[in-house]
Structures are given as structure tokens and as C-alpha cells.
Subunit: 368 residues, 2 copies
């Protein structure tokens, strides 16, 4: 008896996983982490009002969620000053990226991203047979000019840019993004991943007409709103593109607790402001810790700080491992020259103190 | 400025939706339903222990869920007497069906199902360009012989069967399913959708070696466990097929509250037994109500009763509309001759009383 026959495309895919979770590491280490600073989760947590709404919704979870996400889309539309027909809600940005790539990328189609940018986007492009073309960062920034050049060279109709960027934490001002949109060749769609924009300074999110067919903006409740484990993201785009998701999406994929939590979180903007304040403090503290150890913190418009360890990739990887051995979960960029850095999420005083205690020991061990 | 270019496959898909949610109907009616008996949700709700676990997990939802679903898979493996490598957890059976079809169905590939069976499976097959071949039911049962004949005729490598069946509520004994598996041509995979099996009598779920490469069994926390709005399903299959899901799935798609709720529900088997008891009572009561109105309830191995209205599709549709007009949410089979029926979910005394009050009025209206 033989197993099933995979499609040629799926048979050709590697069995890799975009990210190994901290729980997997904890299991193999046989020990919990003391500080969970590797996945850019919000250690400040969700709004207490959202926690209450989710707890209340738990008793009603026997009902499917509304497959149209009607109330949440209406609230998001009010929040962004657009129409509900400009909003699609999905299972995190990851889920929405998967649907979008499926809608737009046929086998062999060229797609452009930055070398070292979000691996899960690459996972989806490869998963639907797209051909990735990568533009280098310019220093620690994704490079709109280089991305546009790759688009023109390859004839790609889809280009990905995150602003602010992950894993470097850098950002472009709104005007740079606006200029990139104006320079897109006819028929090219920009995926503007704004997962971290809730934590960026004023002036990072550009004004974009929601009906503009050239851009789809991705937003999430995972970062600023502190609900990574709830799996709710949304996109803002022209109504035609939003309607296209209905052809492929898992219509009941956003459940009732997720809808209730996202709605309550959106309505508690004071909590988001409080998180922004705490993130700013934590970024400053992470900077102090880095400098106190002779390392260089990069400027961050996100809820993490990328720290230049001052050596090569092997050196930073050794620092990372030495931190992990001291029960500090952190991650690092995958690609040179960014892999000279480690990436540390913002946290409260206890987690940052644990990091501050472990870092000099880790550096001492690695420096011999 | 033009919009993005869809893949030829996605461009060819209709913008249809498998199911219209009751909330959509409530919005267009401007009025809530009194009894939500149309989506085969469990009106008896989830285990109170699961509700408590979800409420507790809400405060921890700032963390992503474990992308390997390690603890839940281990618990499910213990529950079913197989290995964790035999279990894949996903965003409901709907989500898992989408991944599976993507893995196995290339454009033009033949796929076999029953005419009138689960529309969301058909949605996925069409969505990946598969060609559906349908076998008729035999009476009110899906027909393994006819399905196998269609498999042989079309060279399909994938065949879907639900046991118990939705929308008819019928079932085959385990031996019939076993015989079907033994008769599958080499290399053909049976998707055995057991969404309702937790509510079926003993002897419906066949013994299947978890490593058997001929079958993938789909299970869910939506029906017996009463958590449709949580979006947790799982499949039991050979380790190679389970591992294949890692190539395409949304690795962080099952969140932290979902994992906690499913785990607690699985551990509260007495609650499932209590639900089974209440479902049995409700089925009997729905049968009495149907017969008291001159209608014929079909035997059910599920948490709903399909009621033969004794006329044609137009008659049953009119009864359905008359019930909806009286604030009773029910659905009905899509395809003749099954569309002579309406399908009513089990509920508690209040919902069944509301149905019992509305049905004679609805019939009187339709019969003129």
C-alpha cells in the first residue's frame, strides 16, 4: 500500500518550518525560559477589557463566529476612516499573506522582497510556486529603490515591504513609502506589512486612499494590541481585492473569541497608548543594557531592539546560544550582514533585568 | 491604475460562499433568531472546565500558541491510542480540508464525493482546480459502492465520505467503512470525515490502524465538544501524510486559547457523555415534534435531525422560509431528492419548544 500522491508542486517543497517555537526549545532543553523575548510578543499583554471580553465569549464559543466578521470590519472601518468593504479580517497576517499569495501568484510568477525580510511571506510564495527575487537592504533599511529595480527587472506583479521593518526595527518615513507607491509600475501590487506600525512614531504610516488598487496594508492584533495567540489580522485594500479573498479564505476561520477580543482591544485605545509608552521605555532600557556591554542598539520603531554585537554572524550566533543557555529566549536575523545582530523584544522590568544579568555572562563566555 | 492580476485559476472561481451565516440573516431581517438550530452547533455548550481553561488562557494570549501543538497532539494520541506523529491539528476540519486538498489536488485532478455532501470540501477542490465527480446517495445514505465506482471510472486519487453523514444524519456501521477501505484502488486516499462521530452510537467508528496510508480521519472540537467558534480540528493519518501538512499549513494558526480549550475539553470526557445524553433526548423530542406535525424524522447519528417534509424541494424551502420568518434558524440539504427535508439541530427545552410552536404555524402557512 502506497501513500497518497502529492501535487508536483507540494512534492517539491522542503519540509522546513518558518520558525521554531520557544516551546520546542523548552522541550529539547528540558527547562522553561525565564524571559520570553524572542518572538516580539507584547509582554505587556492585551487590554484587560479584551481579556474580559474573551473570557465572556468563551461561554458562547459553541457558536461559530460570524463568517463575514461584520461587526469587527465595521469597527475597523470607522477606526481607519474607510468602508467595511475595504477591510478583510483573517487568521493573522500569516493567514492573510497565504490567501493573498494564493490569489495572485501562479507557479513561475516573479515576486520581490528584501533579502532577510519576513520568512513566512517567502514560505507562502514558495508554497504556491512563485519565484522569489530578493533585493538587498541598504544598511539596516529595506530599500524601496532596490525593490522597485527588482520589480522592473523581473516583471514581478507583487512586491513586499514591511514598514517598520522586522528583523531590523528600522523604518521609513511616510513620504518614502508614498514615493514608492507612486513609482510602482502599472499593475504591480505592494504588500505593505504594517504589523509593527502601532508602535512606531507618528509619521511612519502613510496616508493611503483605501480604494487605491496599488497597495494592500496588513495590520494585526498580535503586536501593539498584545494578542499574538488570538490570531486576528486584517488588511486594508480596494474593495475588489478584498472581495477576492472570499474566493479562497476559510470563511469561518476567525472564531467567536477572536472576534470578541479584537473588537474589545480596538475599542480600548488608551491601553494601546499605555503599551506604546511602556514599549518606548523598554526600548530605551534595552539600549542602555546593550551599550553598557559595549554593543550597539539600532534605532527601533517596533516592540523590539536589534542589537549589533560588533562581530560577524558566527559571533552573534554564539551570543544568542549563550543567552538561550541562560534561559533568555531571543532570536536573530537570518541573513548577513544583519546576522551580526541579535533581536530582543521589549519586556517589563523583570524580563529586562534577566536579560541584563545574562548578557555580560554570555558575552564573557563567547569572548573567552 | 488597474488592480492586481489574479492567477488564472483564482480568476475563474465564482465569488460564492459555502454558507451564509445566521448573523447575516439576522442583519438583513433586522431581528435576532429565537432558536439557533441551523448550523449543528452544540447548544449544550462546551465543558465548563473548557470554558474556565479558555478564560484563564485569555490573559496569556499575548503569547503565540505552540506551532507544533505538542501537548494537544500528545493528549489526542493518548486518547486514540496512536502516536503524536499520527495527529495533525488545524483550524477546524475546514482548515485541514483546505490544506489536504492543496497538498493532493493539482488542476485537472479528479476528486470524488457524494452529490449533496459537505459543500466546503467542494469549495476547496474547486479552489485548487480539481474536478469534482459526484456519486448519488443511495436513499438517505452516502453510497460507498457508488463512490468506489466513480473512483475507478475517473482515476481519482482522493475520495470523500462523511460518517455519520451531513446533511442527512445517516450512518454506516464500521464494517461498511472497513470494507470500503479494503476496496480502495492502490494509491487512493479516503477522507473519512468523522465530525459527528462523537454523537453516533457505538459501532460507527471503525478500527483503523493510524499508520494506514489509505485513510485520513477528520475529527473536530466543534460538534460533540461544543466549540465550533474556537476553530480546532484534527486529523489522524499515517506519519508521512501528517508531516506533509508542515509544508503548507499556517504554523501558528491554532492559537493559545484554542489549544487550552481543546485540551481541557478532551480531558472532560464526562461532559461529552452528558452532551451525548442530551443530544439523544433532543433527537427523540425533534422526532416527536416532526411526527406530531405529520412529518417524518430520519434516523440520526448526529446532533441534528433531518426531517422529511413530505413534499418536494419547493415545499421544504417554503417551510424553511416560514420557520425563519418565525425566528427559527434552520437549514436544509441543497440537492434533490434530499431537499425535500429540513435539517434541525438538537437544542435544549427552550429552543425545541420554540421550534415546536413555530412548525405548525409554518406548515399551515405553506399548506395554505
Amino acid at each position: 500500500m502506497s501513500g497518497p500522491r502529492y501535487t508536483p508542486l507540494v512534492a517539491s517543497l522542503p519540509a522546513t518550518v518558518p520558525f521554531v517555537g520557544p516551546e520546542t526549545q523548552e522541550r529539547s532543553r528540558g527547562r522553561r525560559f525565564k524571559a520570553r523575548l524572542g518572538a516580539n510578543e507584547s509582554l505587556f499583554g492585551p487590554s484587560p477589557k479584551a481579556v474580559a471580553a474573551m473570557a465572556e465569549a468563551a461561554a458562547e464559543v459553541w457558536m461559530y463566529g460570524d463568517p463575514e466578521n461584520h461587526e469587527l470590519r465595521a469597527a475597523l472601518a470607522r477606526h481607519h476612516g474607510c468602508a467595511p468593504s475595504n477591510i478583510v479580517v483573517g487568521e493573522g497576517i500569516d493567514g492573510l499573506l497565504g490567501y493573498l499569495v494564493r490569489m495572485l501568484v501562479a507557479p513561475g510568477d516573479a515576486v520581490v522582497t528584501s533579502d532577510g525580510a519576513y520568512p513566512t511571506f517567502n514560505f507562502h510564495v514558495a508554497g504556491f510556486g512563485g519565484v522569489l527575487h530578493k533585493a538587498p537592504y541598504r544598511g539596516d533599511h529595506e530599500d524601496p529603490e532596490a525593490l522597485l529595480a527588482r520589480v522592473r527587472e523581473t516583471g514581478a506583479r507583487l512586491v513586499y515591504l514591511a514598514n517598520p521593518d522586522n528583523p531590523m526595527g528600522s523604518h521609513h518615513p511616510a513620504a518614502t513609502i508614498r514615493a514608492m507607491i507612486e513609482a510602482l509600475p502599472e499593475g504591480v501590487l505592494l504588500i505593505l506589512d504594517e504589523a509593527y506600525v502601532d508602535l512606531a512614531p507618528e509619521g511612519v504610516a502613510p496616508e493611503i486612499e483605501a480604494d487605491d488598487p496599488r497597495v494592500i496594508r496588513m495590520r494585526t492584533f498580535s503586536k501593539g494590541y498584545g494578542m499574538a495567540g488570538l490570531r486576528v489580522g486584517y488588511a486594508i485594500a480596494a474593495p475588489g481585492l478584498v472581495a477576492g479573498f472570499d474566493k479562497v479564505r476559510n470563511h469561518f476561520g476567525v472564531g467567536r473569541i477572536a472576534q470578541a477580543g479584537a473588537m474589545a482591544a480596538l475599542q480600548d485605545q488608551p491601553w494601546l497608548a499605555e503599551v506604546q509608552r511602556r514599549v518606548e521605555e523598554a526600548r530605551a532600557e534595552l539600549g542602555r543594557i546593550a551599550r553598557a556591554n559595549g554593543l550597539t542598539p539600532l534605532a527601533s520603531a517596533t516592540n523590539f531592539v536589534t542589537i549589533d554585537c560588533g562581530g560577524d554572524g558566527a559571533f552573534a550566533r554564539a551570543v544568542l546560544q549563550a543567552l538561550i543557555a541562560r534561559d533568555i529566549f531571543v532570536r536573530m536575523p537570518f541573513v548577513a550582514p544583519h546576522d551580526r545582530c541579535i533581536r530582543v523584544s521589549c519586556g517589563g522590568p523583570a524580563e529586562l533585568a534577566a536579560f541584563a544579568a545574562a548578557l555580560p555572562e554570555a558575552l564573557a563566555e563567547v569572548r573567552g
